[in-house]
Amino acid sequence: MSNEVREEVRGGLEAHLARLWRYALSLSGARDVAEDLVQATCVRAIERADQFQPGTRLDRWLFSILRSIWLNESRARRVRAGQGVLDAGEALSVDGAHEIETNISAAQVLRAIGALPSAQRETVLLVYVEGYSYREAAELLGAPIGTVMSRLAAARATLTRTHETKDA
């Protein structure tokens, strides 16, 4: 591959690495698994570059590749329900002395998100964080729009209740 082509490919993938990792973390709940998922996604994206529809969103395409790898991966690992709790503490703290108000409450929210069922957690990330519309999320998840709506509503309700309980 010429250097120029390599630069362009790297540029395209590099721009989305952090978000892919965050999505992978929300799916798998484990940092090392998330990194491996991102790597596998990049490799497959390079292999299947021909399948990318020019003019469409590269990030959406990468997200769908990641999701499909994860589905195969979790089937292969026979992931049991209950695995996939986000380790929010590890995710946020590097040096305890640097934790400020925002980080502490963000850590609490992430812990609460980690406690959600993984389907709800994934839907929350896609719609509220990555900006997927209900329809786009439904398409990626292979689920009816109604399912997307009910997962979001349930997640919001749980997270709101958790927050209110803490404040009480």
């Binding site: 010429s2 082509v5 509220y128």
Partner: protein, 256 residues
């Protein structure tokens, strides 16, 4: 105070901009008269905001350096490819269409492929990507029977004298001429084979400022470019750049 699941669903959809106009109006009417519901709405809204903040904080902890290094390793191990669809994809589509049109024997002048956006260097980049699609077989087993006709069309469109004799250069076999366009300007591609290697001579009447001949390398090809008389020129092929420069000088003289 708790609201029903159904109400939560509606409030959520409302916050996400996913209610249709009628549903939205109905809900807003209720919100105006039900303080409970308003409170619940604000609580749910705050949850989404906190969620976004938390996920944004999480993004900051992504191990980007590690992932970049692993990506680089994967790229280094990947063999050469012809074209990457997330580069200037419009050019790739147009190029593929151009090849099909040629193969179908469309006559000169009746088809022109559109290649994309403005910018006097952009058209050259599009040609580089177009080149990546060619194989020796792309031009057929012999010079096109419609070559003279096609060149006549190009001459007219480009306002430059182009005919078979003028375009002969030593060592290259003149094969096909394709009328194209780039950003509304006529573009002609004159394709040769150097043995089995495609070499393309491209001319566009785009009003470029005059520029002396320079040779460079792009995408694995040697590229010679120059501009004269409001036309941009380029010669491109996977051949040694010394040889390409000599050929380019010859063609520049003949078409200047």
């Amino acid at each position: 105070m708790a609201t029903s699941d159904e109400d939560d669903g509606k409030l959520t959809a409302y916050l996400d901009g996913e209610l249709d106009q009628a549903e939205q109006a109905a809900l807003e009417a209720r919100l105006a008269s039900e303080p409970n519901l308003r409170e619940r709405l604000e609580a749910l809204r705050a949850t989404a905001d906190r969620t976004r903040v938390a996920f944004a904080a999480l993004l900051e902890t992504a191990p980007v350096a590690d992932m970049r290094a692993r990506l680089d390793a994967a790229l280094a191990a990947t063999p050469a490819r012809a074209a990457w669809p997330w580069r200037r994809s419009v050019a790739a589509i147009a190029a593929a269409v151009a090849i099909v049109a040629f193969a179908a024997g469309l006559g000169a002048g009746r088809w022109s492929g559109s290649l994309g956006d403005a910018d006097h260097d952009d058209w050259r980049q599009a040609v580089v990507e177009y080149m990546e699609l060619y194989t020796p077989e792309s031009f057929g087993p012999a010079p096109s029977p419609r070559l003279a006709e096609a060149l006549a069309t190009l001459s007219q469109r480009l306002g430059a004298p182009l005919d078979v004799d003028r375009l002969q250069v030593p060592g290259l076999s003149l094969r096909v001429a394709i009328p194209l366009q780039y950003d509304g300007a006529p573009l002609g591609e004159i394709a040769y084979l150097d043995g089995a290697t495609p070499v393309a001579f491209c001319i566009t009447r785009n009003g470029e400022a005059d520029a002396a001949l320079t040779t460079s390398s792009r995408g694995g090809f040697a590229v010679a470019s120059w501009a004269q008389g409001g036309r941009g020129f380029m010669l491109i092929g996977a051949i040694p750049s010394d040889r390409l420069t000599i050929l380019a000088r010859a063609l520049k003289e003949k078409t200047g």
